[in-house]
Every structure is written in C-alpha cells, then in structure tokens.
Symmetry: C2
C-alpha cells in the first residue's frame, strides 16, 4: 500500500502556473531557470517555489538552477497533461458556447469532444468543430468515449438534476459554472467557478 504524503492543494494549483511560465520560457529557447527567475514570473516566493518542486523529487542542480524542459516534463506528467483528456460540456447557452470555442483547454491537456443541450437545435458555436447533441445521447456518449469529466454550464434551476444525471452516467468530476452548490456522492468531485462571487470579492478588497 503506497501512502506517500499527498501534495498540498495549493501546490497543485501553483504547478499549473509554473507550467504556463515554463511553456513561455521554452518557446523563448531558455534552457535553464533559477528559482528566483521562475518565481518572479509566477508571482510567488522563491522559497515556496523550491518547496513545491521538492514534491517532484529532486529536480534542480545546486549552483545551477532547473532545466526548463525537464521540469516542464515532470510537472506535465504529475498533472496528467502529457495526454489529452476528453471531456463533455452540458448546457450550450451563452457561457457554454463561449467555453466550447475556448482555445485554452487544449493547451492544458483537455478537449471538449461533445456538447449537449436540451435544445439540441441550438446553433453550433462558430469557430468550433463540436456539434451540439440532444441530452438523450449523453449516456451512450459518455460510456462509449470513457469520459469521466464534465463541464456543467446549465441554468441554476436545472443544475442539480443535470448533475445527478451526469453522476449516474459515470462522470466523476464536474466543473460547475452554475451558482448552485451541487450535492454529489463522495466519490464524485465538484468544483465551482462562480464569476459573480469573484467579482464581489475583488470589489470588497478594493476598498481595503
């Protein structure tokens, strides 16, 4: 039974930031980077960066720094970004349509392979090769493509019931854009993105 101490939640979040910075350095043909430089790019403390990197095992050389490619590869494999994970999106309203056309998912290893909506005649978002399927096709699609991750972008009033469906079809992770706190079984992970709350927060801290 292998029970390594788990990597802290916040470190995992920062690994995504490091990855982005490393991609930029790699594009600029930088071969080596010090904790100080990379930390500045990611806007974190250098000691924190080094501590985070120890979770990968020793990955730098004292007096030298870190090899950009090697570090990038290590974080990629930790985060599972070295392969493309297929996901589905449910709810092709304004926000759902924008997410289907969003270019940034591919860059971090995800591809929306199917979009679903109760009004399946909704126009296919432009710039997007993904067709919009009717909800009835969801269960077969999910099991047929072995999908475990879904983006939920339906209105608040149907969010919980659609989430229940997704879970019953085998989905294990839901990125939820509705403002509802979903009730899901223990083995399912729901993560909320609530832009209204983010805005409210920002506004609060603007006035001290």
């Amino acid at each position: 039974m292998s029970r390594k101490p788990p990597i802290p939640r916040k470190s995992i979040y920062r690994f995504s930031l490091y990855l982005r910075c490393l991609q930029g350095l790699h594009r600029d043909n930088v071969a080596t980077v010090s904790s100080e430089t990379l930390a500045k790019a990611a806007k974190v403390n250098p000691a924190q960066l080094r501590k985070d990197l120890t979770y990968l095992g020793h990955s730098g050389r004292r007096g030298f720094g870190y090899k950009v490619i090697e570090l990038k590869d290590r974080i990629d494999s930790l985060m599972g970004t070295n392969q493309l994970t297929p996901i589905v999106l449910v709810g092709v309203g304004n926000l759902g349509a924008a997410l289907v056309s969003y270019q940034g998912f591919e860059e971090v290893g995800f591809g929306i392979v199917g979009a679903f909506d109760s009004q399946s005649e909704r126009a296919r978002p432009k710039d997007s090769p993904v067709p919009v399927h009717p909800m009835e096709d969801l269960p077969a699609f999910i099991s047929g493509h072995h999908i475990t991750l879904a983006i939920l972008a339906v209105p608040a009033n149907s969010a919980q019931s659609v989430a229940n469906q997704l879970v019953s079809y085998g989905i294990r992770g839901i990125l939820n854009f509705s403002p509802v706190l979903l009730e899901v079984p223990d083995e399912v992970l729901a993560h909320n993105v609530n832009v209204a709350i983010e805005l409210q927060n920002l506004a609060y801290f603007m006035r001290e």
Copy 2:
C-alpha cells in the same frame, strides 16, 4: 485612525456563499435560521460559520439562531451589495459576449454599463441592452461614469497592454479572464479567473 483587525480573505469569500443561501431562505419565507442549518446549505462547518459571523458583531441570539433578513442586510452592507456598482467590460469575443449577457452580476450588486472592443462593429450580444463601444471611448466613459472596476476578457497577447490602459484611465480593480498574470501597481487589484487551471486542478484531484 480606525484599525480594526481585517476580516480574513476566506471569510469574505464565504460571506458571498452565505448571502446566496440567505436569499434563498428569504424567498422561501424562512424568518430564522440556526448556524447548523445555514452551514449545511453553504457546505461549511457550523463553528466556522459562527466564527465568520462574529466579524459582523453579535448578530444572533443564543438558543434562537439568526434572523434571516437582519443577517442578509448586515452582510449586504459589509460587502457593499446594498448598492449597484457600475463596471465596464473590455473584450467582446466569445467569452466577453457571454459575460455581458450573464444575469448573475446584477444579483450580487454589479451592472455592466459599457462594453468595449477594438473591433467595435462586433455584434451586440443578444439578450443584452449594452452596446459595444470602440476603445477610443474608454477613457471618457470611465471618468464620466466614475468607474473603478473592469472585467478584462481580451486575448492573452493584448491583456497586459489593455490592463495598462485601464489603470491609466483610473481603474482600481480588474477581474482578469486572460491566462496572463498581470503586472499592476500596488494600488490596483487584479484578480484572475482561469478556467483552464480550474479544470486541470479538478482533474488532478479526481485521481487522488
């Protein structure tokens, strides 16, 4: 010089959650709520809820619970949600257009009063009364309407330069949807929403 100890960042975040739950209770004509009930609705620990609420001053009655309306009003005034704050949105691409049409901002006290794009002939998003202005009109609009908050939804390659413009026009808070870590002066607050990173995170924790 009033220097009360500041309210923790995470408590402020949770106040937004409590507010949403209280709105629901109020709609359902519930007059009183216990920390246990409200905590369950907001998916937090009851002790944590009570501790958060002490930052408002004493707001409950022992043996009784909290009055829904009173608590809602207190949090509204703490968060500044009792008045509507005008904001601008810059970048009316897929995501920007979706945000302009998003209903949820009004519910938490914000209204997008102007949308701006370098291609100002971009179609006005449907369901939205907000016209798309050319970028040249931004400085006059911001100072004319006394706006201090902006949503930034432009592509990565122009994010920093548009942010610089916003700051020079007087914007003090930026909700940034681009995947760039903005460089802003100390007196300006930038808050990032990065859906790709949220997805990457969720995927990591799905596989333990």
